[in-house]
């Protein structure tokens, strides 16, 4: 595996960090903000559910699953771009 420059390493880490912050911000909204306002959201309905209830039994959960798949898709791209996506040699 070719050695990566210190500079490339830093750029890779900066991008990783930005992606992580974005993911955690979305996580925060669906973990805490949305359930906090469940009472107000309940005045609306979504496919027959009171909206606040929908989010805490299903909506937020679906967001979490999709969020991790999204993060991995972006992170793989960041790794490949920096040339550190190789999976060999990790036994």
């Amino acid at each position: 595996m070719p050695e990566i420059s210190q500079d490339a390493k830093q750029r890779h880490w900066a991008k990783t960090r930005s992606l992580t912050i974005l993911v955690l911000a979305l996580w925060f909204i669906f973990s805490f903000i949305v359930p906090w306002f469940a009472k107000d959201l309940n005045s609306m309905t979504f496919i027959g559910f009171p909206l606040g209830y929908y989010f805490i039994v299903q909506g937020s959960l679906i967001v979490f699953v999709l969020l991790i798949f999204f993060q991995n898709w972006r992170q793989d791209a960041i790794d490949d771009e920096a040339g550190v996506g190789s999976e060999s040699d990790q036994q």
């Binding site: 880490w13 929908y54 959960l61 991790i68 996506g85 190789s86 999976e87």
Partner: protein, 605 residues
């Protein structure tokens, strides 16, 4: 079975296994039609599944360190996802989650959000970096990143405290199910449960646990989802109830004032409850605060519990570790988004007078002669009492143990007994798989970190693996002994395990990767202060301790809200007051952040 070809043929092996299990269920259904008794079917379900797990455990036996501790680091992402899901979903979440939602309403749903959202933290902050590190156990990471035996030792203490409170509850659950299915006393059931658990883990360590957990996941998810979908179809709630039970939620909200929800019971039965909490009625304010604090504790705990984190050490690469977190959450999600549907539909069936299954508001005599009511009241898990003597069953006259909601649902909906047997097998799979993961996490930390790294670094492989197995049996026996004492309040122990782990380990793990300046002294301070503060607050607030008044509604289920900030502040302050870590350690942190290349710790370290 050749190892290489086993990994290549995983899909075929587990497809055959799933087919075989379904064929077994159908065979049981046929036996039921021919008049074989419910008890025999229950025994066959439990015996058949446990024998299969034991066979997998025996086939996976090993004397190699790498295979014993991290399953040879060759578990593909999707299978590791299934194994993690089984590791994660305990007997309590299988049996008690739906009952909790049934009785607890909005307040309880904090667990549902917390136990799923935690995986976002695992994926973002922990799993890929710990995998790159190449450690065998969580204290292995702490000990190498921060250096010194004291840091390693503190991590071992927190790990044992968190995992041991959890494993007792799991052995308790497997004992309860074994006792009920095999018709043996609970005290014996606990030891039978332990025997099954050890059969899966002792010979092959992590490798055996991995392949049995995959098998256990398949059983438990079939056992959870099939009854709900079947019940929904029989009762006319839709083909796939998950997307159509919104109307049921609204209907329950209409019925609640009609059936007199909130009227206190005039009698009481030990361990049984009447329904008093509205299904969906968040109040905002303190209610919202209690929801988010509970969810936060469970999330941080998820990201710090060693038996979950160590599952990600078994994948072939960093990328596969991340991918397997995604699949873990997907497989967990399948159960977690089914549980609220189950709780809602079961409640509606009991409350709605227009449905044939309704019992509330019906004639007391008719209800008390229903077979499922008689079955469960005969074992003391359900009780009816016509307190006001009007001959009609009121909501405050119907008493039930919360954790029978899942087990009783098939009977309420009039499904055949084979479904109840299936549910028992699923509950046992859930309890056994979690207990296995936890026992292994404890025994591995003690054998690898305490014995090999601290006490006798010159021990040879054979010796290390024998010590690991002896510890596994000793810890399992101790946990089974404590479970057999039937100490009360053991179910609160599940939430406690999360809070212990979050208080002591969350920040030392996260900052070990994300803050280069974090040093040994800081990490020790963070672990000790967080863990001590959390435990002290637990002692202050728990009714069995000092029984103090919770501050701001922070009760014994969410004591990590006290422990975690203390841990963070102590770690940051002490780190900044003491010298920065040396250049070698800082270079190691840089290396952990690069996903490719060799692991920090070499193979068989």
């Amino acid at each position: 079975m050749i190892k290489g070809s086993f990994i290549e043929n995983l899909g075929r092996v587990y497809a055959m296994y799933t087919g075989g299990f379904l064929a077994f269920v159908i065979l049981m259904a046929i036996l039921e039609l021919f008049g074989v008794g419910a008890n025999t079917i229950g025994i066959l379900f439990v015996a058949f599944t446990v024998v299969i797990y034991a066979v997998i455990g025996w086939l996976s036996r090993t004397m190699q360190v790498e295979a014993y501790y991290v399953a040879g680091r060759e578990v593909p992402a999707v299978y590791n996802g299934m194994a993690t899901a089984a590791d994660w979903m305990s007997g309590a979440s299988f049996v008690a989650l739906a009952g909790g939602i049934y009785f607890g309403g909005y307040g309880y749903l904090g667990f549902v959000v917390g136990w799923t959202g935690g995986y976002v933290l695992v994926n973002s902050l922990m799993a890929p970096y710990l995998r790159k590190f190449g450690c065998y156990t969580v204290p292995d990471f702490i000990g190498t990143r921060y250096g010194g035996n004291l840091a390693r030792f503190c991590a071992i203490v927190v790990l044992v405290a968190a995992s041991f409170t959890y494993v007792t509850a799991q052995i308790n659950a497997s004992g309860t199910i074994a006792a009920r299915a095999l018709h043996i006393p609970f005290e014996v059931g606990v030891w039978v449960g332990l025997l099954g658990i050890l059969l899966c883990s002792m010979l092959g360590g992590m490798r055996a646990v991995t392949w049995t957990q995959v098998a256990q996941y398949i059983v438990l998810i079939i056992a959870y989802v099939v009854p709900v979908v079947w019940m929904s179809n029989v009762q006319g709630f839709g083909v796939i109830p998950h997307f159509s039970y919104g109307d049921a939620v609204q209907r329950i909200q209409e019925l609640e004032p009609v059936v007199g929800l909130g009227t206190a019971a005039t009698e009481s039965f030990a361990g049984l409850r009447i329904l008093t909490t509205p299904h969906n009625d968040p109040q905002g304010g303190l209610d919202s605060w209690k929801f988010v604090t509970l969810a936060f504790c469970m999330m941080a705990g998820t990201a710090s519990l060693p038996h979950i984190l160590m599952r990600y050490f078994t994948t072939p690469s960093v990328r596969a570790a991340r991918k397997s977190v995604a699949f873990s959450l997907f497989f967990i999600f399948l159960l977690y988004f089914t549980a609220p549907a189950l709780a809602t539909l079961t409640k509606l069936q009991l409350l709605d007078p227009t449905l044939p299954t309704a019992i509330i508001g019906q004639s007391f005599e008719a209800v008390s002669s229903l077979p499922w009511i008689q079955n469960w009241s005969s074992v003391g898990m359900l009780a009816l009492s016509d307190s006001n003597g009007d001959g009609i069953l009121q909501l405050n006259e119907f008493f039930m143990r919360p954790d029978i909601v899942v087990l009783a649902t098939p009977e309420i909906a009039g499904l055949p007994y084979v479904i109840s047997g299936l549910v028992a097998a699923g509950g046992l799979a859930a309890a056994m798989s979690t207990a296995d993961g936890l026992l292994l996490a404890i025994a591995n930390a003690l054998s690898h970190d305490l014995y090999y790294k601290i006490i006798d670094p010159k021990a040879d492989t054979r010796h290390r693996l024998i010590v690991a197995r002896v510890l596994l049996i000793a810890i399992g026996a101790l946990a089974a002994f404590i479970a057999s004492l039937k100490l009360t309040g053991i179910l609160g122990a599940v939430a406690w395990a999360f809070c212990f782990a979050a208080s002591g380990l969350f920040f030392p793990l996260v900052l070990g990767v994300w803050w280069k300046r974090a040093n040994t002294q800081g990490a020790i301070a963070g672990m000790v202060c967080g863990f001590v503060a959390g435990s002290a607050y637990l002692y202050y607030v728990f009714p069995g301790g000092m029984g103090g008044t919770p501050w701001l509604g922070i009760d014994h289920l969410r004591f990590a809200i006290i422990g975690m900030p203390v841990s963070l502040v102590a770690m940051v302050v002490v780190s900044l007051m003491t010298p920065a870590p040396d250049a070698e350690t800082q270079a190691m942190v840089d290396e952990v952040r690069v996903p490719s290349g060799k692991t920090i710790l070499g193979a068989a370290h």
